[in-house]
Symmetry: C2
């Protein structure tokens, strides 16, 4: 098992800044679920907030509405098959985590599970904004805690190791991009 370390809250936005696809996990009472979400972005630095679109017909929406909480899990390429399946199946039919064979660990601040096979995790509490939820399926939430695989993210920087460890960007129809080459641009001179 890779070692997992806390990410300071003021650096939590750095986990999402590059626009990776996410798995949203949720729980209420004995029920839990996972869905895929590509429409997700940071909204503020400190306290860290995020915005995410959660379709009104999903079980996830129901569990989030009941619990006021969810976790953002950033899947590695190794589980791209499960990301696709999480986005295509409904948790109303069967326990999706079990069906996908996704292990998990408990979160610290919320009841939603933190999924194995991921690079980083954000524990979120919904900020009540009924208008945004109703009009746009848009949920705004505060990040209460963040953690990441220490071999992949530390000191506010991603440093992916093998190809299977990269985060993902979702296109459509089962197609993804892996997060690609890291480089630094030079604003003052020529392209680095």
């Amino acid at each position: 098992m890779p070692e997992i370390a806390d990410v300071p809250l003021d650096k939590a936005y750095l986990l999402l800044n590059h626009g990776p696809v996410s798995l949203i996990s949720s729980a209420h009472g004995a029920r839990q679920n996972v869905m895929a979400a590509a429409w997700l972005m940071p909204l503020d630095f400190s306290p860290p907030k995020i915005a995410v679109v959660i379709d009104s017909r999903t079980l996830t929406r129901e569990l989030i509405k009941a619990s006021g909480e969810f976790a953002v899990n950033l899947p590695c390429r190794a589980i791209s098959r499960q990301v696709l399946a999480a986005g295509s199946q409904s948790g109303r039919d069967a326990d999706k985590l079990q069906q996908l064979g996704l292990g998990f660990r408990p979160a610290r601040q919320i009841a939603a599970p933190l999924l194995d096979g991921c690079a980083a995790w954000l524990e979120c509490r919904v900020i009540s904004e009924p208008e945004n939820q109703r009009r746009h399926d848009l949920f705004i939430a505060e990040v209460l805690a963040a953690s990441a695989r220490q071999d992949l993210f530390s000191h506010g920087r991603w440093h992916f190791t093998d190809a299977d460890s990269h985060t993902l960007h979702y296109l459509a129809g089962g197609a993804f991009f892996a997060t690609g080459e890291y480089f630094e641009a030079d604003a003052t001179g020529e392209k680095a």
Copy 2:
């Protein structure tokens, strides 16, 4: 000059689904400006809507407030230096487009310029939501028109050519990821 083609409005979200960094261009009267924005996501399919965070202190915010319009430009790696500069300098000091040496063409539906060196463009009209703007610096807009370099995006799919053509994902401190390897996952069987 690469050929540019219209993107059907119901496919406009596919330009943003993978979470690339953007350049937001704006204009009002004789003034125009460009800023970098990483906090941007699709919000709806049809009519296509997007959500983007625009800091209240920026000239871009002022121009968008006055005009009710902006363009989302998706820069290619070839202009990463300009993306970084657009995010670090203020347009209040000098004409930033001129300073960056960024050429542009007129949009069809709005006054904001469409920037050269980019892979795709979305022409957007702000939907009036004063509460979101005030509380979260969050702008929700309808996409009125979309276009893309035909060699890079067609039939609802990205197909980047050389390394300089890839879209970008912003990290922090001048660091980017290029959009990486394309692959398809198989939800029903083993990982493809």
